[in-house]
């Protein structure tokens, strides 16, 4: 016998056709993230035209600082969602980490850098705990992270007794209030985190394995991927990034306020990820989409504020605009793209 009998498919026409055929535009329109990015552009233009202050530097700076908060949370959250899990604790943990770092540094006089380190270690520990529970005891991630969320919210309150911690070290304020050129530092941190996450997910074997774990757990396991470790990695990443966000928030506010834990960041983070094309079933979604999802949510909510939409209609308008953006994306996917199934 000869291997040549297994003539390769005549299919190669496919590749040729692909390069022959569709315009760049069409191909762009077919990528799953195109819709969200396009929605961002459209939203920005519409709001900029409608509200003159929208595209002003100060307003863009506000958006940059906002993004740093829930954009980073969304990225961390996405790691977990990519493995097929969910992390409801991100908002609560962000709040708690702000309180902890304040408590350590102000109440207990630990030097700020040490307090930051300590807090991030605690966050990592919490992520590790999530991972272990999911791996060893098969606890649904929804439940275990909800437990953490509740405890974090409660701890933030009971540590402070409801009174915000003031006189924070300047480190935090500096981080949040300074600029590089016109760009606020938190926005730069966001970009840094996004690039790092993109690199980790797309360019390292660990990242690719995280996708595999979420895509088909059993297949990943049988292929020899240490699924437990990958899941734990995702939870730890999410928790540590929550911790970072907590510090950015207290820096911006100037006080460590326990109410942050209950703000509901987790929903926004998950929404940003899902809007950006992450599938809640795991294994699908890319950082560029997630970042665009976070940006879209921010553009919308900030845009409506700039337009001075009546408070009572603000929330309605937010919902409607988000709805329109999503439907436009889905229509695009229906007529152009393959998108996600």
């Amino acid at each position: 016998m000869s291997a040549s009998t297994l003539s390769p498919a005549p299919a190669p026409t496919g590749a040729a056709a692909a390069s022959r055929g569709p315009s760049l535009l069409r191909r762009l329109a077919a990528t799953p993230e195109a819709g969200v990015i396009l929605a961002c552009v459209v939203a920005f233009i519409v709001f900029a035209v409608a509200a003159p202050t929208y595209s002003s530097t100060p307003n863009m700076q506000v958006m940059g600082r906002d993004l740093a908060q829930f954009g980073i949370l969304a990225i961390g959250e996405s790691f977990v969602i990519l493995t097929g899990g969910i992390d409801l604790s991100v908002g609560g943990l962000a709040g708690l980490s702000g309180i902890l770092v304040g408590w350590f540094s102000v109440t207990h006089g630990i030097p700020a850098p040490l307090a930051i380190l300590l807090t991030l270690l605690i966050c990592a520990g919490i992520g590790y705990w999530h991972g272990s529970m999911v791996n060893r005891l098969n606890v649904p991630p929804f439940v275990i992270t909800l437990v953490t969320f509740t405890i974090c919210k409660g701890l933030a309150l009971s540590i402070t007794g409801g009174t915000p911690i003031t006189n924070l070290s300047n480190i935090f304020g500096d981080l949040s209030l300074y600029y590089v050129g016109p760009v606020p530092i938190p926005a730069i941190i966001f970009v840094g985190v996004a690039v790092a996450a993109w690199f980790a997910l797309e360019r390292t074997y660990i990242g690719r394995q995280i996708y595999a774990v979420g895509g088909n757990l059993e297949a990943a396991r049988l292929a020899g991927i240490p699924v437990a470790r990958r899941r734990t990695t995702a939870y730890v990443t999410s928790s540590v990034l929550s911790g970072v966000v907590g510090m950015l928030i207290i820096g911006r506010l100037g006080v460590a306020d326990p109410s942050i834990a209950g703000t509901g960041y987790e929903l926004t983070a998950i929404a940003a990820a899902v809007v950006g094309g992450v599938s809640l079933f795991g294994g699908e979604g890319r950082i560029v989409g997630i970042a665009a999802g976070a940006i879209l949510l921010e553009l919308i909510s900030q845009g409506l504020l700039s337009l001075n939409v009546n408070t009572y209609y603000l929330t309605v308008a937010q919902g409607v605009v988000l709805g329109v953006a999503i439907l436009a994306d889905r229509l695009r996917a229906k007529f152009f793209g393959t998108g996600r199934s």
Binding site: L157, S259, G264
Partner: protein, 370 residues
Amino acid sequence: SKSGGGSSTDTSAAGATASIAASCFASPSPLPSATGDALQGSVTFNDANLTALDNALACALKGHSLSNVNVAMVVNVAADYWNAGKTGFQAGCTALGISSSNCTYFAPPDGTLTEQDTELETLRGKGITGYSISAIDPASAKNAIATDVANGLFVLAIDSPLPGTDAAGLYLGTPNTEAGYQAGLAMKAALNGTGDVAVLVGSLTAANATERIAGFKQALAGTNIKVTVTENDNLSAATAQSDAETILANNPDVKGLYGVYSYDGPALAKAVTTAKKTDVKIVCDDSDPATLSAVQSGVISATVVQMPYYQGYTGAYIMAAMKVLGKTATMQLIQPFLETDGSTLSSGVGVVTQADYSAYTSLESQLGIG
């Protein structure tokens, strides 16, 4: 675009101060005081004085262009309580002839610190000249206020003061502690001096909540009345009611309920009815319609009310004057009306009971906020 900065304000102020006619200055009439052991209402607030101040400010502003005045009123949550404030603010702007686009009202839909913070940053981006704020968290506002004041913005504390900040100099509203104290007095009277009390509140972190509870406990000090339970309902009426029912079911000794947030009153009233414990006395804050009707029917013994209308109305006048006349001149006009602490411009505190229910409602309808 630098003209909005502090220096130009100062120069215009210097010129303006001189031009304020002496006839514009006004002086206050004495505040009514409500103390005593029997439960008695009071719905006169500080209306007369604030009206006098408004007139004085209007008089001084006469002849000045208000076209570069761009002010905002930022409150702490989108709730019924603030509807009167919004009405007052808009009425104030209209009376002064400030266009509605230069007159922004914002209430955070979820009442969170981040919402409020983001809105403030947004307003700065829009080039406002001043804002009044009911800070969700005064401590967290400190840095931002310092920056704003340094940039020539005028910041007016309303609803709760901003001690320790650059906006500490003037506060328009009722000290929360005082309001809580009034509630405590009402409770003391309602319970005849003995019994356990449970407190329901929508937040354990917001300053207005913690200060009121502190004032409430202060009024009860030295009596046989003890606060045995404090419950956080997380800004939800439904949770408040369920919690109240639970408290009543589990604490037979609780004879009084104090509801701090505006929806707490109706929730408590309903809980008491549901549990058929009509001997339990309720004192609450604010003037939700359901609260008032429960006051009228006697289920709620008393509700402590403020006059957010004037926080809006007079607030608009003050902010306009600060921009146009300058700080020194404006403060000269306000000075006579301040409380003894030298910074509080009281918007009054009222206590509505069954007896003065109709007096209060007629005042409301007169202001167009019923």
